[in-house]
């Protein structure tokens, strides 16, 4: 530490340039983390907020589009409700629709068809809960998009009219579309394309997207046994995120970019400290000749790398948070999450240290005898 700190101070311009590169990577990492969390929230917050542990879809359903493809018979709900460890089972319907308010505001909605008296019926922060046949409860983000409590929306092509009676307590989105909870019967009519006033076909009245299952507290549910009994295919809640439109592609892309950033960070730190280590060879030879052990020299070099990386990442994260605060709420799916940002920051420091360590290890091979003669 004695020499490391003094060298950082002495060659501050050189270290500042290197630190700036790491700090920029940290800024980028914070932005990516914010986008990642924001996209996840925008993609599946509607599912995350459901008090559900698993969904039972049609047998052999295509997993990445289960919500749009699955059709389950209503009788499966009772079958699931009778399974050991299941606290609740309720029908769940899902479909995306285009709507327009009477004021002409166009808005897309992800309809969650639920029974008004089931455990899926959401709490509200404004208005009233589900109850009336045409009443819907929408995500607060729908208000940001121009919807108002009391508005009536008309579903394109079908003409079904729904009235906004309540607003959920937190953001509920699905596939980047605002969620609207709708009574199951209304959802079945919309899903089957039944025009307003027409009778609901017998078959449509028994069809739902999936059975939403909630396990009893502390108990696990044998999903395979339940599927066998009900003729369904279950996905845990987290697995069901992958069935949200675009979710897997988006998260995989961002994870890939983050992975590359980690690798770039390690390479940049490694390259800088490799050059630094080569430049320091004569000094290291003197240090060794003076009696510094290999461990002392390595500790000093790694301490230097750690101080530089930690300071640069801290500055970068600070700048990233400030930029993120400006972006949040601007319409871009962006959300700052301290746990994920902290993890990213620690990851950058650790991988940078690995890169630096791989570079400075070469100083252990410096021959102290080269400090003698005209070698310097």
């Amino acid at each position: 530490m004695f020499l490391a700190i003094r060298e950082l101070n002495f060659a501050r311009l050189r270290f500042a340039l290197m630190g700036a590169v790491i700090a920029l990577i940290a800024v980028l990492m914070v932005m990516l983390s914010g986008l990642s969390v924001g996209l996840v929230r925008d993609g599946v917050s509607g599912l995350q907020n459901l008090p559900v542990t698993s969904f039972a879809f049609t047998h052999d359903v295509q997993r990445d589009s289960a919500f749009s493809r699955s059709v389950v018979d209503l009788s499966a709900v009772d079958e699931w409700a009778s399974q050991p460890g299941v606290a609740d089972a309720a029908p769940f319907g899902n479909t995306l629709v285009n709507t327009r308010t009477d004021r002409g505001t166009e808005i897309d909605l992800a309809l969650f068809g639920v029974q008004s008296d089931s455990f899926l019926s959401p709490a509200v922060s404004q208005g009233e809960r589900l109850g009336t046949a045409d009443g819907i409860v929408v995500s607060p983000t729908a208000l940001d998009a121009g919807l108002q409590l009391g508005d009536t929306v008309t579903i394109d092509r079908l003409g079904t009219r729904l009235r906004v009676v309540g607003v959920t307590e937190q953001q509920d989105t699905f596939g980047h579309v605002d969620v609207a909870y709708v009574p199951l019967a209304a959802w079945q009519a919309i899903k089957s394309g039944t025009a307003p006033g027409a009778a609901l076909p017998q078959r449509a009245a028994t069809e739902i997207t999936a059975v939403a299952v909630r396990a009893a507290g502390g108990k696990s549910v044998d999903l395979a046994a339940g599927d066998t009994a009900a003729g369904t295919e279950s996905l845990t809640l987290k697995e069901a995120y992958g069935a949200s439109p675009g979710y897997t592609a988006e998260t995989t892309t961002l994870q890939l970019i983050q992975g590359f950033l980690y690798a770039i960070s390690a390479l940049v730190a490694g390259a800088f400290f490799a050059v630094w280590a080569i430049q320091r060879k004569p000094e290291v030879a003197v240090l060794r000749a003076l009696g510094a052990s290999t461990g002392w020299v390595l500790r000093d070099a790694l301490t230097q790398a750690l101080v530089l990386l930690a300071a640069a990442v801290a500055i970068g994260v600070g700048v990233g948070l400030a930029l993120g605060a400006l972006i949040t709420g601007s319409g871009i799916p962006f959300a700052l999450s301290m746990p994920s940002i902290s993890a990213a920051g620690v990851g950058l420091v650790v991988l940078g240290l690995v890169g630096a360590g791989a570079a400075v290890i070469r100083i252990t091979s410096v021959d102290p005898a080269t400090a003698l003669g005209g070698n310097r």
């Binding site: 020499l3 060298e7 000094e283 000749a289 003076l290 005898a369 400090a371 003698l372 003669g373 005209g374």
Partner: protein, 243 residues
Amino acid sequence: MSSRSAPTASTTPTDDAPEQLGLVMRAVSLRHGNAAETVQALDNVDLTVRPGELAAVVGPSGAGKSSLLAVAGGLARPGHGTVTVAGQDMTVPSRRTRTELRRQHVGFVFQSGNLLPALTAADQLRLPLRLGPRSQRSGRDPLELLADVGMADKADRRPHQLSGGERQRVGIARALVTEPSVLLVDEPTAALDRARSHEIVRLLAHEARQRSVAVVMVTHDHDVLQYCDTVYEMVDGKLAASS
């Protein structure tokens, strides 16, 4: 001149306790290179330097002078022979042990000082005191020692703010700060003018006597030999007392 040394007055170190506190090299040989091409850097070298004695080693480039210092300071291990500093064997196989012995008993003065660019003159002296474990961190007061070598007013200056002579003074002080038994000095006047060269070697002779340190100085500069107690000549790895 014989191929083996004929040191002046100290040829039987085993009989003489004070010699054991200095540097004793016996029948030391060192080869560089591989089986295909080898260079005999040191050839059966004997050398004894007592505490307080300043011994000079002169000789042409490539004669083995730096190799002599490297072996004496435990930087290199000879193929044959024994080296003791303050009675400690500097030829032990363990590099870690040799490093520890060097830290405790040997001081190096390099060409042009070889100071670390990031450190002030005072920090150059503090550094060797911090290289070992905390329990072994003892030595002289750096500022006091800087004052002894006439550098008290430049304690806060870095190497690039010092002249060649000043750098060398700091280098000498750095080598002395751990109170070593042996000082190994490599071409201390290589980058200095005549006046500065005399000043530096006078300082070395003074410090050697005052602190009872055995000093081996490798030099090309015959002008400064007047300050040395003994002078050796090295040619093709062989050391002999100079006429």
